[in-house]
Symmetry: D2
Subunit: 394 residues, 4 copies
Amino acid sequence: MTSSAPTPTTPQNGEPGKTTLGVAAIGYAFMGKAHSNAWRNVASYFDVPAFEQKVLVGRDAEQVAEAAARYGWSESATDWRQVIERDDIHIVDICAPGWMHAEIAIAALEAGKHVLVEKPLANTLAEAEAMTDAARAARARGIQSMIGFNYRRVPALALAKELIAEGRLGTVRHVRAAYLQDWLVDADSPMTWRLNKETAGSGALGDIASHAIDQVLFLLGDTVTEVSGRLHTFVDSRPGADGPEQVTVDDAAWATLTLASGAVASVEVSRMATGKKNSLTMEIYGDKGSLLFDLESINELGFMDATVPVREQGFRRILVNEPDHPYMDAWWPQGHVIGWEHTFTHEIRDFLVAIDAGTPPSPSFEEGLAVQQVLAAIEESADAKSAIIQVAGH
Amino acid sequence: MTSSAPTPTTPQNGEPGKTTLGVAAIGYAFMGKAHSNAWRNVASYFDVPAFEQKVLVGRDAEQVAEAAARYGWSESATDWRQVIERDDIHIVDICAPGWMHAEIAIAALEAGKHVLVEKPLANTLAEAEAMTDAARAARARGIQSMIGFNYRRVPALALAKELIAEGRLGTVRHVRAAYLQDWLVDADSPMTWRLNKETAGSGALGDIASHAIDQVLFLLGDTVTEVSGRLHTFVDSRPGADGPEQVTVDDAAWATLTLASGAVASVEVSRMATGKKNSLTMEIYGDKGSLLFDLESINELGFMDATVPVREQGFRRILVNEPDHPYMDAWWPQGHVIGWEHTFTHEIRDFLVAIDAGTPPSPSFEEGLAVQQVLAAIEESADAKSAIIQVAGH
Amino acid sequence: MTSSAPTPTTPQNGEPGKTTLGVAAIGYAFMGKAHSNAWRNVASYFDVPAFEQKVLVGRDAEQVAEAAARYGWSESATDWRQVIERDDIHIVDICAPGWMHAEIAIAALEAGKHVLVEKPLANTLAEAEAMTDAARAARARGIQSMIGFNYRRVPALALAKELIAEGRLGTVRHVRAAYLQDWLVDADSPMTWRLNKETAGSGALGDIASHAIDQVLFLLGDTVTEVSGRLHTFVDSRPGADGPEQVTVDDAAWATLTLASGAVASVEVSRMATGKKNSLTMEIYGDKGSLLFDLESINELGFMDATVPVREQGFRRILVNEPDHPYMDAWWPQGHVIGWEHTFTHEIRDFLVAIDAGTPPSPSFEEGLAVQQVLAAIEESADAKSAIIQVAGH
Amino acid sequence: MTSSAPTPTTPQNGEPGKTTLGVAAIGYAFMGKAHSNAWRNVASYFDVPAFEQKVLVGRDAEQVAEAAARYGWSESATDWRQVIERDDIHIVDICAPGWMHAEIAIAALEAGKHVLVEKPLANTLAEAEAMTDAARAARARGIQSMIGFNYRRVPALALAKELIAEGRLGTVRHVRAAYLQDWLVDADSPMTWRLNKETAGSGALGDIASHAIDQVLFLLGDTVTEVSGRLHTFVDSRPGADGPEQVTVDDAAWATLTLASGAVASVEVSRMATGKKNSLTMEIYGDKGSLLFDLESINELGFMDATVPVREQGFRRILVNEPDHPYMDAWWPQGHVIGWEHTFTHEIRDFLVAIDAGTPPSPSFEEGLAVQQVLAAIEESADAKSAIIQVAGH
């Protein structure tokens, strides 16, 4: 008898008698790398149904093969259509560019696959609506879908959501959301597809205001009825391959949102905020308390409890690393902080658990569509000299 | 011969052969107290022309007498018209409510007195214009005038101004200004004259957005060409003496400002930001650097120099308490921080020095008017569903 | 009848029938300037007995006359012995160098004057003991005395004291006190009397560790039974008038203090902490909560309440500017922060109120002596290779 | 031709013609979990030689099998002696308790395996010396060894090391190191093996002061010549299975270290610092600049450059997340912060690269021994009433 025992090689986790879920991911760039990390690690920390990292899909056969090996996928492939038809694939994780989301997601849902799609849901409102219809139809057949607003899974923001839901802020009135980056500060940095409206849909608005708006909706559990918006391009021409090219998307965006509850939220985003690297900030002011958050300090939540005596009131810095905090009992002892990519691990965990339980995960495509509708209304307002516009459905 | 020598009792400072400037202050509430402190102390720290704290003027004879004694004025009086006619009064410092500014300031200027008036310049644009005309006319006769945007004299903001003027931020593009307070959070706090449009002119807009807008103009040396604005009253009825009364001013305001330079500034103010006590924040993003400021940390300036190697870039916290910093050689050794009221001492110092030199002090009434014009445009935009409005003169 | 009324010129405050207290201050350098500011302003903010800023005393007749005029004193003088004998002087405020404290204080007390003396109480333990004896004897005759550990009057530290006294920290165990400055970093900065043991007594130890130790005693209401100490001079020779001179005091000091309660405190001070300008930090860890303070952020107190649920625990930043906070109802509305020199105004206020009430003010000379005894024990331990030493009286 | 291609299943990375390194890890508790995470992920981010996660070793067969499956190991085993003899094992990663380090490490080195051992090197100085001898002998045979002071691989601290080595701080004089936690605050929390000197060696001293001292040595590239130390147990009895048991290790420790360079460092550690969760702070003060670090804000480094004009000096907060920063080009775009466990991934990366290159990795066992010698001297000093003690070899 030997002293060592082989580890069951597959799946990464699981219970006897359950189907092992085969996963295919489409895309291996920034988001593909982040999602792969989550798939590779989620079962080491969380109890999730059995799954396998089956196939990584990309356009360049050589590169996707290398990425698959590097990121822990058993196979690589170049044709997503073939992959979504495979019987051993149950989950499709879409990390491809926004303009491909609708086609892949709808096809995958129709093929009976659970679908996770990166944000934003789509580049156009029409696509987003078609995806939502497909998701609704699939859900009726037990097929789940989810949009990847990963910041909902930041433990500090999940804690914020809990505190608000418990009434700790009282009536929320004034909300400030901002997302500031600085990677376009240099006017000589070159033109890219991200700065072209044809390929990118929009600029800072779709890329980062979408996160900020989703947080407003998520944290408050509220809806936006009307908006005033403004878009601006500070550097409207950048060096292209053959001379200067026109930048056709926004570098920065501003909006005020009227919420159904009566609260008002401001949203401000920029890729020109020198020194701000990835600063999604949320400020939520209620009549009994307030919350502050900055993504650059991802492990911290600021909480002001206005119900304690004035003498001892103040914003407290909660280090959201206790076993009592959302998701944190899976990781390390208190004070051993986590990083940005952990939010995807939490997202995949919740997605897998929902599939296992047969309950629709959140945020749904409908929730993704709601964000798209607000973005569309902001663009419409911006085109109308910032005049207030009703959001679709309100 | 005795070993002790009497101190020349008056004036508080001065050179032989110069007239001692007689000062009258009108108003002894919050601002009157702050200005009195400045008059009482300025000559102990700065070299200023000789002056005397002659008369404090207020409506209630008994109360103003007590305030005069407490705050260091030689006399008290109840009739400002008599006081501004006195030959021994050379300076009139107007700390009365905004609706009284125009009448007093114009009369004083016409009586040949130098005038310092608290912000905002006036409650209406028409009054502000009349005051500006009077100031211009008086200036031609050597009579000086100034509006008291005291935050221009926060050493950290004066340093910010210097750094921007020296080009340390490069081209400024994106500016964020906010002024957040929380003294109206309680929906049961009673109705006051400050919440009535008749008496107060506006709410958070005139009271605190004026400061934020003045800082944008001051720091950038720029002008506003157009605005989009929004006003909101979260609690529109409050307990009055005889039951609920209507709140007719804004609790919060939002605006985006287009600047002549091409920069865009957002302005957001609130009296409902629970936990924010007096938080005027300025964020100035240029293509070579950025600045951050928060009035609650009045001795600090955040500076990001984007021209140093990326590896060592970061917002630095400058403790603005060195002899090299504006106004600071007059006070204490490094690290011995100053407070809020010192800004008035600096203001009075600059006002006195300008009078002595015969050079117009800044901010002038024209500068105060420029702020009023932006405020008026924001109100107009708010009335027009936030549609962009040209600012008067642009 | 005229519309204006003269303000009673003297005293700065007061009730009918009470003697107006005549004040003499000795010294017009850094501390003299700070104390003068306090005397000049205290009656504008606080209800205090009537007093007059009578005489400022200094060695240079011309300079002291100028300082007296600038700082609001009626007369100047050069002979402190004459001044303390004057019948119209009731209070002597000693801002002279440490080696003069004992002689002046004892003479003034024996002359029946109330005495305020700047810290440290004296340069030697023997002098401190003699002063304490004199103070005790004078107190029996109704003559009050106080040592000016002004940081006891920082509102944030006064609030800290209240919270600890109320049991909000539970049992205090671990205390960290530090006072870091950087004004001696440059090895070429010249030799001064402050760096010579003959004139200065000690270096960072007496100058700033004294403050840190006083805070430990003040905040905890505890006594030190034994210490281990270490002193170090990083730059032991500096340019003098005639070539290099030996630095004979410490640049930095370290100590651990055993407290009677069982708590242990560390004390660490330096004049070589580049970038730290005036950073007195206190960290108090109890079994129910903790406090953090940094003098560079004088308006803030960090408070961690470990009795709330773990999920929402965190250090809260209390902006100590509410009317409910110690001393703060006298100043400005919430969030309008105060500065360093206000601590002296509070000190003078408490001193005057105690004199008026006939109750001994705190910190007494005995309390000053207790600090001196700890400093002496640290020096003794440092001389004994850091071996633990009993503090006198324990 | 199919559109999908299988990923080469083993090894996790590698070049053709090179042996794939077989790895065995011993221990699957806290450190085993952290190391496993690093092995599982390192090849996804860094270019490392080919390796396989072969065997996880633990005492409980069932539990170690489950851990192996969860953490990505091919096999599990219970007998480490058998495992280290296997030909397919080339690397032994020791995450077992400190008292087992010496035996396993020496046996593994003698068996020709590269060894990584968690800190502290050993529980006793004698064991540490034996291990160092074994490492030296093995190194001569091309067998590498390393001790896992993972905080050397925090990018912010690696950057700090670079800046100091480049002379950016000038002459370093005053260093403050602290490591504060609060998991023993509750006096009723039960007795454990960690609080017993027999099993744990020491308390906070060995557990966390070791990290702080290693950072002093690492950052300064210096050695400790003498120390004064103090240990204290605030709660000396805790509930055991059969009633109160004696706590025989320290809850807190203090030391001052004399460095060969002339710098002086203080070290202060505690498990009683309520509200501090995992706060390793380093403050390094040189005559040209300073650095600040707090492990609770792991992505940030404070840097004060005292060579820029005084007017613009201040501690800058460098968000150490740029591709230019140590280790960071492997991860995410700027501002997408990393967490605590990434330090182990960096450690394993450096270990593998060193093995591949045949160059001794750092920190070596000799470096681990140096830390042990300082810890031993602190204990000796604490036993001698804090009197200064020479460190072994000095």
